[in-house]
């Protein structure tokens, strides 16, 4: 459909053109924007024509799958036309896509025309409204090099130095050869499982060993889908922060009890009187 055939509101066209020209925009851009305004104004005044257009597309569309999309898009286009340009354009697109029938892929590789120069020409004329302007807030940013990388390097160096000193001074444990017939007393799991082992004292093994660990893992993974509060301000997240802190502390306290307050027979002890039964 050419510009001449398009239904438009010439009053809105002139108004937009004047507004654009007076603001010092290039005349071609101003003309394009005015055209967009004219078409939009017309569509806003005649929403019923859009619906008719969609119905026409429905009958004309050869592929069944495209029909619901076009039908759904029509009211959306009418509704969105007043708001933002990109929305209206995007929503209107499926209509024309449904009308136009794309040729089926043949699988043939096209052969170049005889005598054609061996080069590509890529040129397209795009109406101003076809260009989507993405304006992202640049924000307060600094270069990764040197700022972030230097910080990471220092953190890494300090950690490595600390670990190196610690490893030189303190040997990792190596006990006597494994003996399946000699159970040490107490027998403890690695420290990160001691919270669970501690729970085993209070709950049925089924609960402590299966239900709670599964709940923790699945619950953790589900956190972003359960907590739909969009704010990241600590003040707006009191419930989430409190719940997480309680659970985290709960785990930490159980782990500490299992590590230091359990002795022979996995019975309660005070580490400062009976000693520590804990190995890393």
């Amino acid at each position: 459909m050419t510009w001449e055939e398009t239904n438009k509101d010439m009053g809105a066209y002139q108004q937009a053109l004047d507004a654009q020209s007076s603001s010092g925009v290039d005349s071609r851009v101003a003309e394009g924007r005015a055209r967009r305004a004219a078409v939009r104004a017309y569509r806003n005044e005649h929403p019923e024509e859009d619906a008719a257009h969609a119905a026409e597309a429905r009958t004309a569309a050869p592929a069944g799958a495209a029909v619901p999309a076009a039908a759904a898009a029509a009211p959306a286009a009418a509704a969105a036309a007043g708001n933002g340009g990109a929305v209206a354009v995007a929503a209107a697109a499926p209509i024309s896509a449904a009308v136009r029938e794309a040729p089926l892929p043949t699988g043939n590789i096209p052969t170049p025309k005889k005598g054609a120069p061996d080069k590509h020409r890529l040129l397209a004329i795009v109406p101003p409204e076809g260009i989507q302007r993405v304006e992202r807030e640049q924000g307060d940013r600094v270069h990764t090099w040197p700022h972030l990388l230097l910080e990471e390097f220092i953190a890494m160096a300090i950690l490595f130095a600390g670990l190196l000193v610690f490893s030189s001074l303190i040997n990792a444990p190596l006990r006597e050869l494994a003996n399946p017939n000699l159970t040490p007393n107490p027998s403890k799991a690695p420290w990160y499982f001691l919270g669970l082992q501690e729970l085993l004292r209070y709950f049925h093994p089924m609960v402590a060993g299966i239900v709670i660990p599964t709940f923790i893992l699945v619950g953790l993974a589900a956190v972003p889908y359960v907590d739909r509060n969009p704010s990241i301000k600590p003040g707006d997240r009191k419930v989430a922060i409190t719940l997480f802190t309680i659970l985290f502390m709960f785990g930490a306290v159980l782990t500490i009890i299992g590590s230091f307050f359990r002795g022979p027979g996995y019975n309660w002890i005070w580490p400062w009187t009976q000693g520590v039964f804990f190995e890393l």
Binding site: D140, R141, V142, T144, W145, H147, L148, L149, E151, E152, A155, M156, L159, L163, F166, S167, S168, I170, N171, A172, L174, R175, E176, L177, A178, N179, P180, L182, T183, P184, S187, K188, A189, P190, Y192, F193, L196, Q197, L200, H204, P205, G209, I210, P213, L220, A221, V223, P224, Y225, D227, N229, P230, S231, I232, K233, P234, R237, F244, E279, L280
Partner: protein, 249 residues
């Protein structure tokens, strides 16, 4: 007669190694362009975007926990490869090769004891740093859209870290190792459904045995690190795709 020494940094070889923008290349200037290129043209630094939000530099925002977890993973890989040269995962009756190899590493291998200590303490530290990293991400609300999926990947990484630490715990084949693993695996052995079978599959028998050692060795040095690296790649990639560091608060 003065002989002009050849300038190494102007040689073709040097220039072929260091891409434009490298700080080691002659002509690096401390300009916006070269700073961006220094990040962009380096395979490792390219994990980062060329620019980051200023508040992300604040130590009290990230505490560098994610980066340090990654560093620990690299350190554990390097020290682990070193230890693999001297360790055989065999524990048949009469000759527990695994255990004697541990003793050899401690007494006869050059720096063996230090490397083993680094590996062991580093592993514990990694479990800790990954857990704390998760807590930090929670408290800064960094799991909120569009970062929901990356949080899930993070939970998988935490699970894999625990798996790596736990499988490694068995390898010394001393009393501490087999009984900690016996207790740890029995924790999950009470399910009415598949835990018994899963446990059997994992242990290669009803109890912790030499079969278990071989299985867990393969899991520890190959299978789990491989899966972890895959998830790590997705994790890092998604950080950038989801808009870099979260915040500011």
């Amino acid at each position: 007669m003065a002989i002009k020494p050849p300038n190494l940094r102007e040689s073709e070889v040097w220039k072929s190694i260091f891409r434009p923008g490298s700080i080691y290349r002659k002509g690096y200037k401390d300009t916006s362009r070269d700073r961006a290129l220094a990040t962009m043209n380096n395979v490792l630094w390219h994990l980062h975007p060329t620019k980051v939000k200023r508040h992300g530099l604040k130590l009290t925002y990230t505490f560098c926990l994610g980066g340090l977890s990654f560093f620990l993973f690299v350190l554990l890989t390097v020290t682990g490869i070193f230890l693999m040269f001297f360790y055989r995962p065999m524990a048949d009756i009469g000759g527990a090769q695994a255990y004697t190899d541990m003793q050899t590493i401690r007494t006869s291998v050059f720096f063996g004891d230090l490397v083993r200590n680094l590996h062991r303490w580093g592993a514990h530290l990694m479990v800790l740093s990954v857990t704390l990293h998760m807590a930090r991400v929670f408290y800064t609300g960094a799991y909120k859209p569009p970062r929901e999926f990356n949080w899930v990947v993070g939970v998988v990484l935490l699970f894999l870290t625990l798996g790596l630490s736990f499988t490694g715990y068995l390898l010394p084949w001393d009393q501490l190792a087999i009984w900690a693993v016996t207790v740890g695996t029995s924790l999950a052995g009470y399910s009415p459904f598949i835990a018994k079978q899963a446990n059997f599959l994992l242990l290669g028998g009803a109890i912790v045995s030499p079969n278990t050692l071989l299985r867990w060795y393969v899991l520890h040095v190959l299978a789990l690190p491989f899966v972890l690296v895959l998830f790590l790649a997705v994790h890092f990639w998604r950080i950038r795709k989801d808009g870099g560091i979260s915040g500011p608060l």
